[in-house]
Amino acid sequence: MSTEQISGIEKKGASAATYVDERVHSNSWFSRNLNKVFPDHWSFMLGEIALYSFVVVLLSGVYLTLFYKPSVVEVIYDGPYIPLKGVTISEAYDSALAISFEVRGGLLMRQIHHWSALFFVVAIAVHMFRVFFTGAFRKPRELNWVVGMTLALMALAAGFTGYSLPDDLLSGTGLRIIEGIILAIPVIGTWASFLVFGGEFPGVDIISRLYGIHILLVPGIIVGLITVHLMMVWTQKHTQFPGPGRTDKNVVGYPLMPVYMAKAGGFFFLIFGLITIIAGIVQINPIWIFGPYTPDQVSAGTQPDWYIGWLDGALRLMPNIEWIIFDYTISLNVLIPTVVLPGLIVTAAIIYPWLEAWATGDKREHHVLDRPRNAPTRTALGVMAIVFYVILWVGGGNDIIAVGFDLSINFMIWFLRFALIILPALAFIITKRICLSLQRRDRDKLLHGRETGRILRLPTGEFIEVHAPVNEEERAVLESKPDDKPLPEPPESDSAGVRNPKYKSGRRAAGLSRFLYRDTIEKPTEAEIHHGDEAIEAEDDFEAPLLEREESMHVAHDGSVLAKPAVDAPETTSDNGDGGSEQS
């Protein structure tokens, strides 16, 4: 663009930019960062959904803090909701009712806040599925995986503390269960419970304590960790799916400005709009129906929000086991499902990147993602974990399901206990088999090309299907399969007969490595692929003269005879009784 075409506004903008640049030297920074390239794939936007729903949570939450009172001082309800008029309730519940019925836009804001909070956790979960199944957590991104895991845990903490704030019957019952879990911790349980609740449950401190954690501590940590999370994505650059020209040393995509600025900005408003529409038409947490919390009351069908539901399910499925040691009760029935189980699962998830790196002996940097099928054992482990989680989640809603589907809750508990052990194992086996089958298909595609669906009969009477070579893009994707091989067994001693000090840990790594990489379909070699390409060309030679014969009958797949033989129609088949005699 020549200088004559610059408009007045652009001139002003340019002079402003120059003014700023002369003082803070920002232009080079901007040009470097605005031109930063990001790879393109819809699944890379799942994390964005989480980020945007968190922004919505923050905005709506700020509005709620203007009216919410974190106090358990008792007041007599005198608001517009008649079925509670004159009932003694806490100030917290009173203000939550006021937000719902008296504050302008309050109910919508409460529903936006609650829905976006649920949405936040869902988006985090789905984002983590993408990261796990594509192996995006591998070097150099292990630390960011840990940051992400911590963010997920903080999201749960934010959700749970918020769930308890309205001080309605539902949230109070949730707190009661938390108290039970704290009490189940051996030795320190009782003291810990008194510490958390400031005395005997429910006490007068818990609401204001949770409020501080909910609006200050946890969101502060989340904002800080999101910053770290994104900065690491920025400096490490985003991973990319395999494709033509994509390697571990480059990033293929579009610049941030203008493509992703527009996409991300637009996507924010889409997510905001979606959450607002849901909040506007679907009711969530009708606290006025649940009533105020008093410790002597409870409602059937009391459940936590979905992301805590799996722990509730674990609690419901756990057999009733208690140890009594020297008159001291160890409540394993509470301790194992709600403290030990989540502790183990979270630990396993956090250390998984290092576990895999140890088993592969792989110290390379990975910027090209794995296709889930190409890491069958990892994919199977992930699906197994999801199935395990879903069964626990179903267990958490077992009473609602029992009533809704006319089932016996006792039957459901026993069914789910067995399912919890059997179904994840089945899911593991089935997923792995599916992955290997997909690998087999990929290998076939590389070797023989794409199946066109055209059947040819050769002069000799033999039937063949015509294959077409896969296009450049697909070939690059298919050829991206890594050659992961199990680590070899370490030698017990070296040639001089000295014992190998790392023998034991090496054997363990090799064992895990075999588990991860033993089953795979070998990628075809270059020579084999070349041979396959020649075969495809040879098929074309067979095809050409046949299609040129006008007198040969052309029969469609369904058996109907085509009126006019179409020479270039891809579905054309050339095959019937006459054909043989003509060719003879």
Partner: protein, 261 residues
């Protein structure tokens, strides 16, 4: 009249007037009373007779020819008319098949027939009776107190919104959203199936009225927040956020992320 008026200041006059008044009202009452009594006894006898016929036909195979019960059904002696009106009036009886619990289903008998069976069962031994129109008059009842009573006594099984909940071994506390006030009253009095008996001595009639009017109020109440997802709480909400929310968000992501060719 003059002679009568002459004695109006007589000391005995007051007594005589009172006596005459008493005789007149008492006599009239007695005459009227015997007439209705006779009629209702006659009608009751007919009703009980009809009820007995229906009972022998439809109920006695399980509850015994004299309502004494059998291996298949409990004794009905002393359960009162309220139990019959509830069990038969909600379609729970006659039982279609033996299960964890008798579900409410289409009612088999007409109101007349139900009243007849109830009269017969009530005639076996005294028991709770069907609530009167006065019992079911909810004008000026404190709904909010009913809410407190409901949450203290009912919500642990029937759920805070009265949508029902699971009990052990396939039994359940039913959804109250289609139950009539009369049937709720009778259920509290007679404690059908898993439900405890809330006799008038433990839960006075006024409390029952308040509870029922609270149930009526949450049944009639709108959901100001929109579609209530069955008022089941977080389970349906969680399901919705995955299916309704995340699915749409992923579709949006695919749309935004789609390459323009």
């Amino acid at each position: 009249m003059k002679s009568l008026a002459k004695h109006r200041r007589h000391p005995a006059a007051v007594l005589v007037v009172i006596m005459l008044g008493l005789l007149l009202t008492g006599g009239l009452y007695a005459a009227a009373n015997t007439a209705t009594e006779a009629r209702s006894v006659e009608a009751d006898a007919l009703l009980i007779e009809e009820g007995k016929r229906l009972f022998l036909e439809g109920c006695s195979s399980c509850h015994g020819l004299a309502g004494q019960g059998s291996d298949n059904g409990p004794s009905l002696i002393g359960v009162g008319a309220a139990a019959v009106d509830f069990q038969v009036g909600t379609g729970r009886m006659p039982l279609a098949n033996f299960g964890a619990q008798a579900p409410s289903k289409a009612v088999e008998y007409t109101d007349e027939q139900i009243r007849a069976i109830a009269a017969f069962v009530a005639s076996l031994a005294p028991g709770p009776s069907i609530p009167s129109a006065e019992d079911l008059d909810f004008t000026g009842v404190d709904v909010a107190r009913g809410g407190e009573l409901f949450r203290a006594n009912c919500s642990q099984c029937h759920q805070a919104a009265g949508r029902g909940g699971a009990l052990s071994n396939g039994q359940y506390a039913p959804n109250l959203m289609k139950t009539t006030p009369e049937h709720i009253w009778e259920a509290m009095l007679t404690g059908p199936q898993q439900m405890p008996v809330f006799a008038d001595t433990t839960l006075p009639p006024q409390d029952k009225k308040e509870i029922i009017s609270y149930i009526e109020s949450i049944r009639a109440s709108d959901d100001p927040g929109g579609w209530a997802l069955g008022r089941f709480g977080p389970v349906t909400e969680g399901l919705f956020v995955w299916i309704g929310g995340m699915l749409l968000a992923v579709i949006l992501a695919v749309w935004i992320g789609a390459k323009v060719r």
